[in-house]
Amino acid sequence: MPAQPGPPLGDQTQLGESDSRNEAQLIQRVRSGEHELFYELIRPYERRVYAASFAILRNPANAEDAAQEALLKALKHIRQFRAESKFSTWLIQIAVNEARMRRRKENSDRTEPIANDANEQGEYKPRDFADWREIPSEVLERKEVREKLTGALASLGQIYREVFVLRDIQQLSIEETSKTLGISTASVKTRLLRARLMLRDMLAPGLGGVWSGKLSFAKGEKPW
């Protein structure tokens, strides 16, 4: 007999109290065997799962495959979810582990920009002091801007990229990031600082000058 679907969840990843209750009920129902409801449960997070995989694997096809595999593993191990963390955090942890495992198998570290990984404890000094004015988030509608951002992130060393992805893209806390990656909170903070500053150095000359010049903000035009 087909299971009756529960109330749909919204797309927002920051759940309200009502959505959290719905999510808890959905989790319980899936754990009780109503596996048909699992997609409803993970739907608000499927983009984040893909983003976590993509940020680590840097290849859309591999990222999608890893994301799907991670979701299947989540379904398989749903009874192990103890609600000690948020369901979204649990999902992201599975996705990160799956992507890291695949990256190790593919030995893609050979292409890592190892210069960024070296000298982690050393201080990082900003190289560029271009004035990067606040820009509207609508620039993300432009494909070339997204590609610049994606490319800059991909050029980071793995240890910085992982921390940055979990903290600033997946919005995990410092503690959750530390737990997911199995490193200390101090290391998370150090790597996060360096990742943010390196990205700023890479992007400020373009988004603060050359690229944003094309946006013609000063003229009040909307080029997108």
Binding site: E46, D131, I135, S137, L140, I169, R196, L197
Partner: protein, 178 residues
């Protein structure tokens, strides 16, 4: 507290995350008022955090959601088929075991359903002393058997020997063994 540029750069990430103590925060804010370089670094770093935190940053491949859903549903269906398979296999096993047990019990109970004459005979104790007569190849339980015509020409022997010599039990006096 007074901070220099290098100190500000090392704490700028914590400053954005509001993870610095009030004294350091105040000192950094004073520094930003005077230092354009550090202000540029602060603004740029904030922009990085803001832009990458936007969910539009990562475009999912076209059809991604449908493929995820299909794969999950396929997996759920697969589980169900496997479950049904196990159910069918279990039912078949129960059927065969039940049939076997039924047949076995029917066979063992058949003796109880037979008439007294149709039941299998009890084995003759080999050491049981029986009487044989010269008049035929039959052995009897004793000389009193009315089927012995010439009671003077009889002799005793163990049933084992009588059987070995080709004698058969008398259907009258040894009917319990026939």
């Amino acid at each position: 507290m007074v901070v220099n540029c290098e100190h500000v750069w090392q704490e700028i990430s914590n400053y954005i995350d509001d993870d610095v103590d009030p004294g350091l925060r105040a000192a950094m804010e004073e520094h930003f008022k005077e230092c354009k370089h550090c202000t540029a670094v602060l603004d740029g770093t904030r922009n990085v955090v803001q832009l990458y935190g936007d969910e539009r940053m990562f475009e999912v491949p076209f059809g991604y959601s449908q493929r995820v859903r299909r794969r999950l549903e396929g997996n759920v269906g697969g589980n169900r088929r496997t479950f049904l398979g196990w159910m069918v296999a279990t039912a078949a096993a129960i059927f065969f075991v039940g049939s076997y047990e039924l047949a076995r019990s029917a066979t063992s109970d058949r003796e109880g359903l037979k008439s007294e004459h149709a039941r299998s005979s009890a084995p003759i104790p080999p050491e049981l002393m029986v009487v044989v007569a010269d008049e035929g190849k039959v052995f009897h339980g004793g000389v009193a058997c009315p089927f012995i015509h010439d009671k003077a020409k009889t002799r005793s022997m163990p049933a084992r020997d009588a059987l070995q010599q080709g004698y058969t039990p008398c259907v009258r006096c040894m009917k319990q063994y026939v």
